[in-house]
């Protein structure tokens, strides 16, 4: 089959740059105000305020059960907030938004926000190539041949082109997560959410996934990352957010880890490092 168009030699970096948000660097793209989420009687998010700016890398960390994953999952409405406002690219998705602001459709939101899961969540019945091609065909109605070309490009960017025909159960955890990242990136998201992307990996496989994420961060992708990798947070985190018991305890730039005065944060950082 002949190529219909030349293949741009895009690396992961170029790709991310070309999809830089329509908003200028530094404009707020995700604005969370007074966000609350309850499961039954248990409140797991107790009033969160957070602002993510275009091109910024926000790292959320904290003990398990602190609500960090729930916060991340609220940003693409995998969890419906109980109260509060969630604005993404100036569109309101929360239940208590200011009146007069356009209420957004979750489907549209998720088409601009990509997500990577702790358990990879690749589709086990599809090859790596099909995993990346399916969402393009389903979401963008791309023709099969073109979707597969784009999928091959996306896999090449994460260094897995040679594994295109492999099924997820034939790949290592690190490779699976890289396919998952390629799958999310192939839809040209403006914001990427990472929910503990390395927590399910063997120690020696963490590096390859962080490497891909680091490249993405350097390329200027807006990222919100929930992670226990404090070293990685120090390296890429423009805004580091420490959560505990459903609230943001402390947040700040790279200096947060060195100059923290909050005893809970000190205790957590010393335990993780």
């Amino acid at each position: 089959m002949a190529l219909t168009r030349p293949i741009a030699d895009t690396t992961l970096v170029d790709q991310a740059l070309s999809t830089a948000p329509s908003h200028a660097l530094g404009d707020p793209v995700v604005v969370v105000e007074g966000l609350r989420k309850s499961f039954g009687a248990r409140e797991v998010l107790c009033g969160i305020d957070l602002c993510v700016r275009a091109g910024e890398h926000v790292v959320i960390f904290g003990p398990s059960g602190s609500g960090k994953s729930t916060l991340l999952r609220s940003i693409n409405l995998l969890e419906e907030p109980t109260h509060g406002s969630l604005k993404v690219f100036d569109v309101e998705y929360g239940p208590d938004g200011a009146s007069g602001v356009r209420r957004g459709n979750p489907l549209e939101l998720r088409r601009t926000v990509g997500m990577v899961f702790q358990q990879f969540n690749l589709f086990p019945h599809l090859t790596a190539l099909e995993n990346v091609a399916l969402p393009q065909r389903a979401v963008r109605r791309t023709k099969r041949a073109e979707a597969e070309e784009r999928a091959a490009l996306a896999l090449r960017r994460v260094g897995l082109l040679r594994h295109a025909a492999h099924y997820p159960n034939e790949l290592s955890g690190g490779q699976q997560q890289r396919v998952a990242i390629a799958r999310a990136l192939s839809l040209d998201p403006k914001i990427m959410l990472f929910d503990e992307p390395t927590s399910a990996l063997d120690a020696e496989l963490v590096g390859e996934v962080l490497e891909v994420m680091r490249e993405l961060a350097e390329a200027g992708m807006t990222m919100v990352v929930v992670t226990h990798e404090i070293g990685f947070a120090r390296e890429i985190g423009d805004l580091n957010v420490f959560m505990d018991q459903g609230v943001i305890v402390e947040s700040g730039d790279r200096t947060l880890f060195d100059s923290c005065t909050n005893p809970r944060l000190q205790k957590f950082v010393s335990a993780v490092l």
């Binding site: 489907l107 926000v113 969540n121 589709f123 025909a165 099924y167």
Partner: protein
């Protein structure tokens, strides 16, 4: 014991009547195949209803519990004689048999599908949602293929059960295998021979169905296992290989180092 039994079986008589017996088998297989297609479709619909919200979930539950509870013979008589009595609608024997089996087996198959759909990990749906896929598309492209693979062995057992249950349809006059045996035996009195032949044929069907479903299962495995399965997926694999080669080559042409 075996020698005694085989002395009672007149194999040459059974062989002489192979045409009639195989015709009976053909009818049984036709009814079963059609009923399988219909009851898988209806069963899937019922499973989805059962897992949705009221009143659909109640309607499905009522249907499932009624038709899991009614014996085949009652359903067959009820569909063939009862429905025409009440509504004036007259089904042919063949159609009545297909309707009966579909009513009964869709109830069982819906429960097979329900447990299979529930066995697909929640993260699969979430991944689809996070990618911006619609719920119907997630169901068709992500959940259903995985659930089908889980449900397949049990659906195979259902098909074997269905072929056996066509034998009950002789009460409404379907000339399937058992009715054929009855007809022949009423003349020749070779009951033991004919019923043994019927048993052999039913067992052969069970082995065939088992083999067919195992092959389909192997095809659905990732990666596919066995010669038939690999052949079935071979074209697709060569297609992917061609894409890989093309993109590998284009990478090297541009002189960029591969990661």
């Amino acid at each position: 014991m075996i020698a005694f039994a085989s002395s009672l079986i007149n194999w040459s008589y059974a062989w002489a009547n192979r045409g009639a017996l195989l015709h009976g088998l053909l009818v049984a297989v036709e009814v079963s195949a059609l009923s399988l297609v219909l009851s898988v479709s209806v069963g899937l619909l019922l499973a989805v209803m059962r897992m949705s919200r009221p009143p659909f979930t109640w309607l499905a539950a009522i249907y499932i519990n009624i038709f899991r509870g009614v014996p085949v013979i009652v359903t067959a008589l009820w569909v063939y004689f009862g429905v025409s009595e009440v509504s004036g609608l007259n089904f042919s024997v063949f159609v009545a048999a297909v309707i009966s089996l579909t009513l009964l087996y869709s109830a069982f198959i819906s429960e097979i599908f329900r447990s299979a759909l529930e066995a697909v990990q929640r993260g699969q749906r979430e991944a689809g949602l996070a990618l911006g896929m619609t719920r119907p598309r997630i169901f068709v492209s992500v959940i259903l293929p995985q659930a089908t693979k889980i449900a397949l062995p049990n659906i195979g057992s259902m098909l074997i059960g269905m072929v056996k249950d066509t034998s009950v349809m002789f009460v409404i006059g379907l000339t399937e295998l058992v009715a054929t045996v009855q007809n022949l035996a009423s003349v020749s009195y070779e009951y033991f021979t004919l019923y043994t032949a019927a048993a052999v044929i039913y067992i052969a069907v069970a082995f065939t169905v088992d083999f067919a479903f195992r092959t389909i299962e192997k095809t659905m495995q990732t990666p596919p296992r066995g010669g038939i399965a690999r052949a079935a997926k071979g074209r697709r694999r060569r297609h992917v290989q061609a894409i890989m080669d093309r993109f590998d080559a284009s990478w090297q042409q541009q002189g960029t180092s591969a990661p």
